[in-house]
Every structure is written in C-alpha cells, then in structure tokens.
Symmetry: C2
Subunit: 242 residues, 2 copies
C-alpha cells in the first residue's frame, strides 16, 4: 500500500511531523500536493480532497493521510496510526499512550509557537497584529519555551531506560517530533534558543542523534525537505526573538 | 479499580471532558482535588502529584488520570483510554481513530476559545490583555466558531449511520465532548450562539439528547457539576461576545 499524504506543498508546517515519520520508516508515500497538477495531483488535488462532499469523514484541516480506505486527520492521530505499523511506537498499550501524550504536548507547543506571530487571527497578516505578536512572543520565549523544554529534558532524565529516547528504550515518532520542534525553535527564536540550549543537554543530544540517523540525514539533505520560511508555523521575525 | 482524576477543583476546564465520560460510564472515580485535604486529598494532593519528582512519566499539566499503575495525561488521550473500556468508542481501529480525530478537533476549538480571553499570555490577567482579547474574540465569533460548528454539523449530516451521533451508530466520548463544547460556547458567547444555532440543527439536537441522558442529567443537577465561571476556559465577558 502506498500512503498518500495531503498537506500544503510549500511549507513544513504540521505536515512535517508526518513526513519525518514516513521518512524514518522508509514508507512508500506520495506527498500529493507536491506532485504535478498535470498528473492529477498538486494543490488542486489537495483542495479537491478537502472539499470532497462525498467524504463521510472529512478532516477539519490538513494534514491528512490516506491509507487504503482510511482517511486519517490530526497530526498526532496520524502518527499514532503509523507508529505501531513501522516500529515507531512501543508495542504495549501503556507505552503507546505515553508516546501519544508526549506528541500531544509537542502539538500544544507548536500551536503556541504559531500564535506568537498570529496572536489575533490566522486570516490576518502578521503585519496587522505585530504589536500583540511582540507581547505574546515575549511571554513565549520567557515563560513557555523554558517550561516546555524543561519538561522534555526532565522526561529524558527520568526515563528508566537508558537509551536517551523519550518513551521506553527505542526510537518513537515522539522523538522525531521533538527533533522537529528543536529545529523549528532554533529557526524562529535563535537568540532564545542560544540562551536555553545549554540547560537542556539531553534534549539537544537527542535532536543531534535524530539528525544523524541515516534516513533522516538523507531526507534533510534532499529536495523533499522544504526550507523553513515566513509562511510556515515556525517563522523568524527578529523582533519576536528576545 | 477506582480511577483517580487529577484536575483543578474549582473549574470545569479541560477536566470536564473527562468527568462527563466517567459519569456517563458510571465509572468508579475520585475527583481527587475536590476531596478534603484532611483526608490526604484536595489541591495539595494535586500539586504533590504534579511535582512528584519520582514519577517517570509526569504530565505537563492537569488533567491526568490514575488508572491502577497507569498515569495518563492530555485530555484527548485520557478519553481514548477510557472510551473502549466503557463502551464509549467504536471497537474497530478505524472508528477509534475517527473518534479521536474528532476529539482532537474539539480540543483545538477549546484552545482557541481559551485564547479569546488570553490572547497574549496565560499568566497575565484578562484585564491586562483586554484590547487584544476583543480583537481575537471578534475573529473567533465571526470566523472560527462558524467554521467549527459547520464542520461538526456536516459530520453529523454525512454520517451514514442514522443515529445522530458523530462516529458510527452509537454514543462515543466525542459526543459527550461536543455537548460540553456547545455548553461552553453558549455560556461564553450567548449572542454569537443565538445567531448560529438555527443553522446547526443536528448539532443542537445531539447536545439536547446528551443533556437528557439519565446519567448526564443526574450529573448536571448534582453538586459534582461545577458552574461555569470567569476562572475557567469558557468565560463570559459581554464585550467579547459580538
């Protein structure tokens, strides 16, 4: 079976968390909206799937994944579907729940990171909400980032399995998502991260080990990996990085 | 086994989504922080559990649920744990994933509803972010509420099983959460909801049927059901309800 990932074709965004797991799994997948429209794919195919009135279980927003007859939405939900199928989640229920809990906490941080540049409304430009963005970003870098990073550092420290992963003794999709979280924060808030990284050595070590995994390294240096930009979730506006 | 729910004792908040499922399931549970501190419970027990340095898998924030040896955090994760155990989720994987997807979408709306009164920072007072709150709330009532409500109405309309539930032909935890979502929006934004309800008849009908379920009705009229207030997630500030 070939998975079909439906996500915006020009940004990493939330879709990137799914891409990273698919890449680490070496899964067969098509990133639909990034394929040519003349082959029936591209953004038109994404929009058609989003607005398909015949679909009984439409997603509220991208990303969503077609897997045979299933259409699965919500990033964390897609990952908990993929995880056990590709050795990227613990087998036992307790471990799966814990991995998912961590993923949902990463999702919360991602939403907050988005809102630093869009604190008022997603459908307004950043320039229209710059004053509020400055205030929200100041709180994010001063209070929220340290709280989240401290939390994940603590999880790594307390994990009784000594492999340096978040959940149990093996790599999971939550580790891949943590890598992306660190990447995004470094891109958007390099000054804040420069301050914080030395206090979170386990987190940074895990990030670095993920980056060095052969499939992830190959992906990151391929054209499949889109660059960060000021269209995505993690955006670098120097005035927000204090 | 008696479940232990850990959540703030004076607000509905995110804990309410868990309480509703526990009540509908007639599950044995203790709402720990609402019990007397002199019995070793109350808020001190919640804070001790939150700050327990011996816990290998601490939650980032309440609510979390102790179930035997498991400690499960993140509202939607708790519900996907409880659902299959208490007949509140479809049995097959596809149905479970779909129910969870809907719950995560409700969670997104809940986070946005919170941010209408706290668009800048959770650790500032509403009064310190009132101007931004007005702007964010205006976007929420004008664009986001219609989008979410329209989405769930469409799900109910497209469900091939004719029972009037969100997922499949039977009640699930997502239906209970949808009830709470409507309750919260009615409390916080009565004017906006008065405008919107007639366009969403299936959603309101489902809400009303949930309210009339014997165990839910008994819960709602008991002292276990806390009132909405301006300390919770759904807050009624008339100036935000336009």
């Amino acid at each position: 079976m070939i998975y079909e990932l439906y996500y915006w074709p020009t940004i990493q965004g939330r879709g990137e968390f799914v891409r990273l797991s698919l890449e680490e799994a070496a899964a067969d997948y098509v990133d639909v909206a990034r394929q040519p429209a003349r082959q029936g794919m591209g953004t038109p195919a994404l929009l058609r799937a989003l607005e398909d009135g015949a679909l009984a279980q439409p997603a509220f927003a991208p990303p969503f994944l077609k897997a045979g007859k299933l259409v699965i939405g919500q990033t964390a939900n897609i990952l908990q579907f993929l995880g056990p199928r590709h050795g990227l989640a613990p087998r036992a229920e307790a471990g799966r729940l814990w991995t998912h809990q961590l993923q949902l906490t990463i999702a919360d941080l991602v939403a907050e990171a988005h809102d630093t540049h869009h604190p008022i409304a997603s459908n307004l430009y950043y320039e229209e909400q710059k004053a509020a963005a400055r205030q929200r970003a100041a709180d994010f870098t001063r209070h929220r980032m340290p709280k989240y990073l401290g939390y994940f550092e603590q999880i790594l420290e307390r994990n009784p399995r000594r492999g340096g992963y978040l959940a149990g003794g093996r790599l999971s999709y939550a580790d891949l998502s943590l890598f992306q979280m660190v990447e995004g924060l470094r891109y958007a808030f390099p000054r804040a991260m420069a301050r914080l990284e030395s206090g979170h050595p386990r987190l940074i070590a895990l990030h670095d080990r993920i980056a060095a995994r052969p499939r992830i390294a190959a992906y990151l240096s391929s054209s499949r990996r889109l660059p960060f930009s000021e269209e995505g979730i993690f955006r670098h506006y120097p005035e927000l990085d204090t």
